[in-house]
């Protein structure tokens, strides 16, 4: 691995917790569940140049589950797209870091997302455009398991499979929860990997907290040309901070008393983890 990915994950998680602590509220649960995937993508896999955010040769990333913006912004800042201090402007009046990603506001953001279901269609469009131009750039997109309630997601999946978009890697972040509770209780997704296979994808399922497993799964996928590609990430909402993993309503948190104290404690623990190079 080209970087110390567990350290990078710890840094992303730390900056995400810090920005939410500064703001006092935010989408913590779904932001933390994709930290390791962002770490592998931006720390190892993606062909990018933060000094040239609009470089046409870059790989593209579309955060279809746009509410996970905070960890995405942390990743971009840590990679040098913009200064870390900017993270504290999250959701401030007039900010360039809105709750949901906006390509016109934030350097490094490739697509405007947040209205669930729409990001993955933008991603398939980007992938198809690259195919039409015979370009080798790759496109990565993370869809939420709750987001899979949206019919548009399945339209996009059908299109990706039919068009054999093997330059697009779809991640489904299966953190098992959506805003109102467990996905199985609200709109059971059943076996997402099997569903994706049935849709014509080459589909894997990995531990979404394991950078090595994610990295290997990505390599495995790209070794299957001519087919649409998917990795279902088995994750936990609030991943990496025990208190928030166990907190049932952890989609959007307004930090007060106990949760504020726990977030502050998590920041101290993560700073410690980072100082030790990310090794627990």
């Amino acid at each position: 691995m080209s970087e110390n990915l567990s350290l990078f994950s710890a840094q992303i998680r730390l900056e995400t917790c810090k920005m939410l602590a500064h703001r006092g509220f935010g989408h913590l649960g779904g932001a933390l569940s994709i930290v390791e995937t962002l770490s592998v993508l931006y720390g190892e896999k993606m062909n990018i140049d933060p000094k040239q955010p609009n470089w046409p040769g870059r790989d593209y990333f579309v955060l279809s589950k746009g509410h996970a913006g905070p960890s995405y912004y942390s990743t971009l800042a840590l990679k040098g797209y913009f200064p870390l201090e900017v993270l504290n402007t999250l959701n401030e009046n007039g900010t360039n870091l809105p709750s949901h990603p906006d390509r016109l506001k934030t350097i490094g953001v490739d697509a405007t997302t947040g209205s669930l279901g729409q990001g993955i269609s933008i991603a398939v469009g980007i992938a198809k455009a690259l195919k039409l131009d015979n370009k080798s750039n790759k496109v990565y997109s993370i869809v939420g398991d709750g987001e899979c309630n949206e019919g548009q997601v399945w339209e996009a999946f059908q299109f990706a499979a039919h068009q054999k978009l093997d330059n697009l890697l779809v991640f489904i972040d299966e953190n098992h929860k959506q805003l109102d509770g467990l996905t199985v209780d609200i709109n059971n997704p059943f076996d997402l990997r099997a569903k994706m296979e049935a849709f014509g994808f080459y589909a894997l399922r990995v531990d979404g907290a394991d950078e090595k497993a994610i990295s290997e799964a990505i390599d495995d996928c790209f070794a299957h040309p001519g087919q649409a590609l998917c990795i279902v990430l088995d994750t936990v909402k609030g991943q990496g901070v025990e208190f928030f993993e166990k907190l049932f309503d952890n989609h959007h948190i307004r930090f007060a008393t106990e949760s504020k104290a726990e977030l502050d404690k998590a920041i101290v623990d993560l700073e410690d983890l980072v100082s030790k190079g990310g090794v627990r």
Partner: protein, 317 residues
């Protein structure tokens, strides 16, 4: 703008215009991508899809993904031209057009076909009476309702050279020829088809033919009638509206669309802000759903005929 009026009537179907214009556009620009949602045959585009397989994509019956994917492609420099029936091109995918399209500054041309009474036997489920209202309310969108084949072809070619969200609504069937094919236009500028001092009729699309017929009838009873083609519904040509209403006894708008939110509303807004004091009558579909039937039958029951325009003028005077 260089307007030459049609010398004779040789109307061709708008779907043929669409096909012919796209042949030219695709030949000229390798970045143009044509997309349809399983209406390739119905829009007369089968030959285009055969001729340009690399630049034409049948997205299947998935309009939401079609708009999103088109937006994504446009971010990489593609120039999408999209077609489906007007209700599916607007109200079904409004949030996709709004966010993936306009809000993130994507580059899309959307042809919504068979609005209002032109949906004919496809009936109420396939009828849009509100597409102009929806698209007018979308920030930055340009809303176009071509008057005839010449203008439709010109708008397709012109918008393909521009960047933004462009909605074009037109029937797939033939419309009366208003302009000679040598004409050129300016987006955002209405075209005065005839001057007149008593009445001005602002019309779009199918209703231009009705407006011109009404002019003939009214002039026989001594009224002087101006007719204006307001093919750009947004941004509306405010200066022209202000100029044309001066000294008029009545202002008429005529559109194959709901009375709420379309051309009539746009003109009413200008007149109210101007404090014009001139009576306005909107000949439009009166807050109702569509239904199945032959277009001429539907045109009658929706109140969109020459008689409705004449009645509106007389009633206002």
């Amino acid at each position: 703008m260089a307007i030459v009026f049609a010398k004779e009537q040789k109307p061709i179907e708008m779907r043929a215009v669409y096909q012919n214009a796209l042949f030219d556009i695709l030949k000229d620009n390798a970045n143009v991508v044509v997309m349809d949602a399983d209406l390739v045959g119905a829009s007369g585009m089968a030959n285009v899809f055969r001729e340009f397989p690399e630049q034409c994509i049948n997205m299947g019956i998935s309009e939401a993904n079609m708009i999103g994917a088109a937006a994504g492609m446009s971010l990489l420099g593609k120039v999408p031209i999209i077609h489906t029936f007007a209700p599916f091109a607007t109200r079904r995918v409004y949030d996709q057009l709004y966010l993936s399209g306009a809000y993130q500054k994507a580059n899309l041309r959307i042809y919504g076909s068979d609005p209002g009474f032109t949906s004919g036997h496809n009936g109420g489920t396939h009828t849009s009476v509100e597409d102009l209202a929806l698209m007018r309310a979308m920030p930055t969108a340009t809303v176009l309702a071509p008057a005839d084949a010449t203008q439709f072809a010109w708008l397709l070619k012109e918008t393909s050279k521009r960047y933004g969200i462009f909605y074009l609504r037109a029937s797939r069937k033939g419309l009366m020829d208003v302009y000679d094919p040598s004409s050129t236009f300016e987006i955002g500028k209405g075209v005065v088809l005839s001057e007149g001092s008593d009445v001005v009729i602002f019309a779009i699309g199918e209703m231009i033919a009705e407006a011109l017929k009404a002019k003939e009838v009214l002039e026989k009873v001594g009224m002087s009638v101006a007719v204006v083609d307001m093919f750009t519904v947004k941004p509306i040509d405010t200066d022209l509206v202000k100029r044309m209403i001066v000294g008029k006894k009545v202002v008429i708008t005529a559109e194959n669309h709901s009375k709420i939110g379309g051309l009539g509303s746009a003109i009413a807004e200008i007149m109210a802000e101007e404090g014009s004091g001139v009576p306005l009558r909107r000949v439009a579909i009166n807050d109702r759903f569509g239904e199945v039937g032959l277009p001429d039958y539907l045109q009658k029951i929706y109140g969109l005929t020459v008689e409705n325009i004449i009645h509106a003028v007389k009633e206002a005077l």
